[in-house]
């Protein structure tokens, strides 16, 4: 029978196919100039990529342009996919590079590693109680106020259907660093919620 845990969170897209195989097949067809395959690829990945990019850049128009560039890169470079990662993490990694290039052009930094390295380690910390009291709408609002790097890692871990190793691959950092970054993001989220709570 069916594993009740399969459907919780990470999207799968087809019932009768291995999505990974389908994705790889789609890329093969895209590499041969198949327009329908490109359309299918967009249907399957476009919205998740767009949501992730929008989470990082916070501007719809810019996010749309980045997704456009990403999909153009897929169209042009489908042959470069070597199957060493999932197609989802591959395309998100492309989108991340496109995002980084765009933000660099705006003289903004998407990831400040020095800042991230200074963040506290594991454990809930004193602000955890703010998260314990928070409503979902408050959390959603607070996430918008996080630094881009924190929004990025949260989006990858919880919004893109990627596993921790895949998130690490996209970010080109060790899994342990992903965990550290996630914890730092949550701590920052707690802090924002705590400040909002004190101001109420």
């Amino acid at each position: 029978m069916n594993d009740p845990h399969r459907d919780v969170g990470a999207p799968t897209f087809t019932a009768s196919h291995d999505p990974a195989c389908d994705d790889a097949g789609l890329l093969g067809r895209i590499g041969q100039g198949d327009e329908d395959a490109m359309a299918s690829f967009y249907r399957e990945h476009g919205r998740v990529v767009f949501a992730q990019v929008l989470l990082v850049v916070g501007e719809r128009v810019l996010a749309e342009e980045i997704v456009q560039d990403t999909m153009l890169a897929v169209w042009r470079g489908a042959d470069s996919f070597r199957g060493e990662s999932s197609v989802r993490s591959w395309v998100i990694a492309i989108a991340r590079r496109q995002t980084r290039d765009r933000l660099r052009g705006r003289r903004l930094r998407m990831v400040d590693d020095a800042f991230l390295a200074d963040q506290p380690g594991s454990g809930p910390g004193p602000e955890a109680t703010a998260l314990d009291r928070a409503e979902l709408a408050e959390v959603t609002g607070a996430i918008r106020e996080l630094a881009a790097a924190h929004r990025e890692v949260l989006g990858l871990a919880f919004g893109s259907g990627l596993s921790l190793p895949e998130v690490a691959g996209v970010l080109e950092i060790p899994v342990g660093t992903v965990k550290t970054r996630l914890t730092a993001a949550r701590t920052a989220l707690n802090r924002i919620l705590n400040e909002k709570g004190q101001n109420r």
Binding site: N2, V8, S16, Y42
Partner: protein, 322 residues
């Protein structure tokens, strides 16, 4: 886990387990057992779940369709056509809640004989498994565990089910959304409220997973004709609105729940008396109007799980692409 649960020096879940759990990815049995017994880890899990819910809420609130401008670089002009087409297709697909169900073309027909006079009818072969066949048509009546359907050619076919037959149904079945029901909601979020596009009732089912919507799981509370409150595992209460366009999927239904007039797709073994002994049945109440809708079933292999997933996907997909 950090260590054996019995080891009191490192009694708590590893951060990776907590994150995987919040992300909806599988965690080990030992981790689940520990979580069930450890208040500290439950609290941590609830915090991560709330963070994950917040991220998913933002993702769900993202506009349905990105509509970027045409490619800017002149050297890429050749790409504008396919790209524009991809966007158009994607846009209409999102609007129509098209699901990628992986159905293929009908690869052949298998003639079987029914019991009555002039009762030859056609059952379709099932791509991926030659051991089973497919019948589809409109549900006329339910007799206990048997379904009587009318095929496109007007032939009645009896589909028998057993306790092990996988029966799924879908449609505007908002009456199935009742207080206490465990559901998975997918839709767009605005100001903390989810406008439900598709709701899965009961046990989660991987086949029900349209691209673009991030699932939020919980229990129904305060159900009304306009919506309900979704209570997540972390105790978060999320307002959910429903409408006539909300697709409700019950992946594990019983024959008695099926409604006359629904389009039925059944896969099983054809008996000598013309009946189809079904391994799986999908009942869809929202297929586009028309004289007949044929769903060609494609499975990975002949395993029950493959057949169930293929039929579950059909039940979850009002396959009209608009």
């Amino acid at each position: 886990m950090n260590a054996d649960p019995a080891d009191t020096r490192y009694p708590h879940l590893d951060l990776g387990d907590l994150i995987a759990g919040a992300a909806g990815q599988p965690v080990g049995d030992r981790a689940r057992e520990h979580l069930a017994a450890c208040e500290h880890c439950q609290l941590e899990a609830n915090r991560w779940n709330l963070v994950a819910d917040g991220v998913r809420g933002l993702a769900a609130a993202a506009p349905e369709t990105a509509q970027p401008a045409r490619p800017r670089r002149t050297r890429q002009r050749v790409l504008a056509g396919p790209w524009r087409r991809a966007m158009l297709v994607a846009g209409s697909a999102a609007a129509a809640l098209v699901l990628l169900v992986g159905v293929g073309a009908v690869t052949g027909l298998v003639r079987v004989h029914l019991s009555g006079p002039s009762t030859e009818t056609a059952l379709a072969a099932v791509t991926g498994c030659t051991q089973v066949e497919q019948a589809d048509g409109t549900l006329e009546q339910v007799n206990g565990s048997s379904l009587v359907i009318t095929t496109a050619s007007g032939q009645p076919v009896t589909v028998t089910t057993t306790a092990t037959t996988f029966v799924s149904m879908s449609g505007p079945l908002l009456s199935d959304i009742t207080d206490g029901a465990s559901v998975m909601v997918r839709g767009n979020s605005s100001d903390g409220t989810i406008k439900a596009a598709i709701i899965t009732v009961g046990q989660p089912f991987s086949a029900v997973n349209p691209p673009g919507f991030v699932p939020v799981q919980g229990t129904v509370s305060d159900a009304s004709t306009a919506g309900f409150t979704l209570v997540t595992s972390s105790g978060t209460r999320v307002p959910v609105t429903t409408s006539g366009g909300t697709l409700v999927v019950v992946p594990h239904a019983s024959p008695g729940q099926l409604q006359a007039g629904a389009t039925i797709v059944a896969v099983g073994h054809a008996g000598p008396d013309g009946t189809l002994s079904a391994q799986a049945v999908a009942a869809v109440s929202q297929l586009p109007s028309g004289p007949h809708i044929r769903e060609s079933v494609k499975v990975k292999d002949c395993s029950p799980s493959s057949i169930e997933e293929a039929l579950g996907a059909i039940s979850a997909a009002p396959v009209s692409a608009g």
